[in-house]
Structures are given as C-alpha cells and as structure tokens.
Subunit: 267 residues, 2 copies
C-alpha cells in the first residue's frame, strides 16, 4: 500500500479522458494532473523539443511526490518514453503500447485502422508498435483534424460530427478494417458517432481505457496500490489559462474540474 | 521611396490571405512573411503567452531590415499590438482597426456580427474598436473554432462547411445583423458558404482587404513606398514544417509559394 499520488501528464486537456478511466478503475488513488497547455500541440515539434518539454514537466510532477506517471499524450508517449524512464526511477506508462496491444488482441483479419492528429499519424508510432507484435498487420492511418474542435465544442453527437466522421472514415471502411484505434485522447468522446459510421463489426480500441487497466496491474504487481475506500483527491496544474481548462475539460469528461493552478514549466 | 521590405506576421498560414491582398494593392513591395507555425494556434492561448510569442517573432523580422510590420493574425492584433508598438520603432498595423472601421462604414441598422477564433472573440477587441467609432452599435460575437480546420482540409465548399456555418451563424441571423466581420484570416476562404447561409442582405467585411488598403495609405503618408515597377520579392519563414506550409498555403491563396525557410523563434 502506497498513498502517494499518481501523476498524469498530457500536452493539454485531452489527457482528462485517461484520468477519467484511471478514476473509474482506481477510485481510491490520488492524482496530480499536469497539462502543458502553453506548449500544445506537441505533435508538430521535433523529437528533441518534445523530450525537453516532457523532462521539464516530469521534474514538476516529481516535486509532488508521485509514485508513478501515466503519459496520456500520444506524441510524448511515442517520442520521450525511453528518455523519461532513464531519468526517473518510478514506473512510467505511455498510451501507445497498451493501445497497440489491445488492437492486436482484437483483430481477426489483421487489418487495423488508426486515427489521430496529423502528428501522431505521421510519426507512425502506432504502426511500428503494432507491427512489432503482429508483423503481418495491414495498418491504415488517417489524421482527423476536425475531431478535436468538434469534441471541444461539445458537438460529438451532432450532424456535423456524423458527416465529418463519414468523410474521414470512408477509406477505413473501404479497407475493411475490423479494429480501429482511437489514437488521440479526445476521440473516445466520439466513439458513438464513430461506431454509427463504421458499424458493429469494427471494434473500437480506446487506449485510455487500456492504459488505465495497465496502470492498475502495474501498481498491483509492484505493491504500490492505494487501497483506501475514500474517493481520491485530484489536483490539476496547467502551463496556460486555467479557466479555459476547467470549462473545456468539464465538457470533455462530463465532470466538474476542481481547482486548477497555473505553473511555469520552461524555467 | 524606401526599398526595404514589409514584414507580414501571422501565427500560421492564414496571414497569406493578407499577404495576397498586399501584393494586389502594392505590387512593387518586397515582403518578408513570418508564420509562427510551431506555436499555432494563438487563439487559444493566454494574453501573456501571445505577447511573448509576438515579441520573439518581431525580433526575427527586425533582423530582416523591414520598414513596417503588418500583423495579419487577429489574436496577435488584439492582444499584442500595444506592446509591439512600444517595443519597436517602425509602423505596426493590425487587422482589427481597419476591419472595425469598414464594418462601421457598412452598417445601416447598427447591428454588426463578428466571427473569429475564441481568442479574438473573447478578447472583445472588435467590439471595443467598433464601439469607439459607433457607440450605439449592437455587436454579436461568435467564435467558430471549426472554420480553420475546415479551410485547411480544403472543405470550404462541402456539406460539413455548410452545416457548420448554419450552426454557428444562426444566432447572427436571429439578431438581424446587416454586416459581418470575417475576423479570422482563414474565414475569407469561406465567404461563399457564409454568404449562402446569411443571404444577400448581409455585407461581409474582409479585414485582410481593408488592412492592405491602410498599409498602402500609411506607407504613402510616411513616404515609405517602394515604387519600383518590377514585381516584389517574397520571402517566407516558418517556425515549423516548411513543406506543410507550402502545401496548405498554396491551396489557401491559390498561388504557388516560393522557397520557405524554417527558423527557431523561441531561443
């Protein structure tokens, strides 16, 4: 039993969907959430820059006496996981590995779709991780830039969302995928609309859910679980406008966000 | 006569619509365009962050021996014009003042709509500038976050664009506006779709066009025009992927973009 909090890191607001899954699966854990909202999006930056930002962010999280870190950001998980693990001596989990593993476990016809931001899709990180597990996999990656603003508007169940999803996902239907990785933290909010477009035969993989499951198993194995019965305490830190984070974040996870504090990370 | 180039600054690619208008109205001028594409979007960032980015960007433009700066970005014009004018001793023009002035000149019923990014609308900068000229104006501001990615996808004449415009502009129709300011550099690309939704009775004001006109008048007054007959030389600098800038930028202004160079701004 270890009552230190878990750190959840994201380049912005999207990581709240990961936080939400962790809360559901580990209700007694305290959590410190850090969103580097001043430097979003990570997806268009160089590898060195992303590593620098991640290490700076983790220094801040470490100052909060955490016992483990979950990287909710796909880009940071792809580019900085190795360096972060070398630098810090606590368990660090990314979203790409659990997402890829679940996709490989689900596919029957070896044809997997991946949707995400342009940065995530162009990085090829899901492709690479999936192919390490299943070398014969056919992977079709589609960037869907409108999905993030649609979710942030709260329009996930509107005709705009549906028609946009039809446009983006047409190619995936033509390739006859049987599994789709929702490779951006915002996208699970669109899962009903995406499911309506793709139909029942396509399994949607939610890396946020898979990552929370892996976090639980990892903490259990290492004897680091906090098994108290009270609800956990959640603290939020961002590097830019806290009010905006509260407002959009509340929409994103349909849950009131408590106090959000602004911090400087690039000092 | 002054043959130094004009600096055109934007947070990204959208400022090319302003550049295009300047080229049309001032064909002999050389132009240095800087797009801070690594740190886009400015529209969602705090005022302090935007000021920091703008001043860093202007330091770079000043190193190119420019005679004036046009801020094509509405957010930057709204949040950082004052600070930039205090720091740098050359004429600096924003898009908000000329756009507001044209709207006041156009309205008959004193009811003006303004659309833009969240940052521009929340800043209230168009409201404030319009009211200085026309204190009785009723102004309805609507942020339209989906319009930028729609334009960047090249979807400006699709059903997604039309339905999205209907959703965003419904309130403006109900208020019976007779003038609408396209308060984001990308939005002039959507003017046909927006016009279809609002009908003929609403005048669309394009701040890019108005700003180019003001730039011409300002340079003339200060005796800074470059009156050579050859076509100007255009240099492009961005803080992120030059190829992406060329590709999307070419679509945006329907014009071939020459060499684009990558620069570091946050050092």
């Amino acid at each position: 039993m270890d009552n230190r909090p878990i750190g959840v890191f994201d380049s912005g607001i999207g990581g709240l969907t990961v936080l939400k899954e962790i809360i559901e699966q580990l209700p007694g854990e305290d959590i410190v959430y850090l969103g580097d909202t001043a430097r979003i999006p990570y997806g268009t930056r160089s590898k060195e820059t992303v590593i620098k930002y991640v290490l700076e962010s983790f220094e801040f999280l470490m100052s909060k006496n955490i016992k483990a870190i979950v990287i909710a950001c796909n880009t940071a998980s792809s580019l900085a996981l190795k360096e972060a693990r070398e630098r810090f001596d606590i368990p660090i989990l990314g979203v790409v590995e659990p997402g890829a593993k679940a996709a490989v476990g689900s596919t029957k016809n070896n044809t997997i779709g991946v949707i995400g931001t342009e940065g995530t899709i162009n990085s090829g990180s899901y492709d690479k991780t999936i192919r390490e597990l299943l070398p014969t996999a056919e992977i079709i990656g589609i960037p869907c830039p409108l999905f993030v603003p649609i979710v942030e508007e709260g329009w996930e169940n509107t005709d705009v969302a549906y028609i946009t999803a039809q446009k983006y996902l047409l190619e995936l239907k033509e390739h006859n995928i049987d599994t789709l990785v929702l490779g951006c933290t915002h996208y699970p909010v669109l899962r009903y609309t995406i499911g309506k477009v793709l139909g029942d035969k396509v399994t949607l993989v939610n890396p946020a859910y898979e990552t929370a499951k892996l976090t639980k198993n990892t903490l259990k194995e290492l004897n680091l679980l906090n098994e108290k019965l009270d609800e956990g305490i959640y603290k939020y830190f961002v590097s830019d406008d806290p009010e905006k984070f509260k407002r959009i974040g509340g929409n994103l996870i349909r849950k009131q966000i408590g106090t959000v504090e602004k911090v400087e990370l690039d000092i």
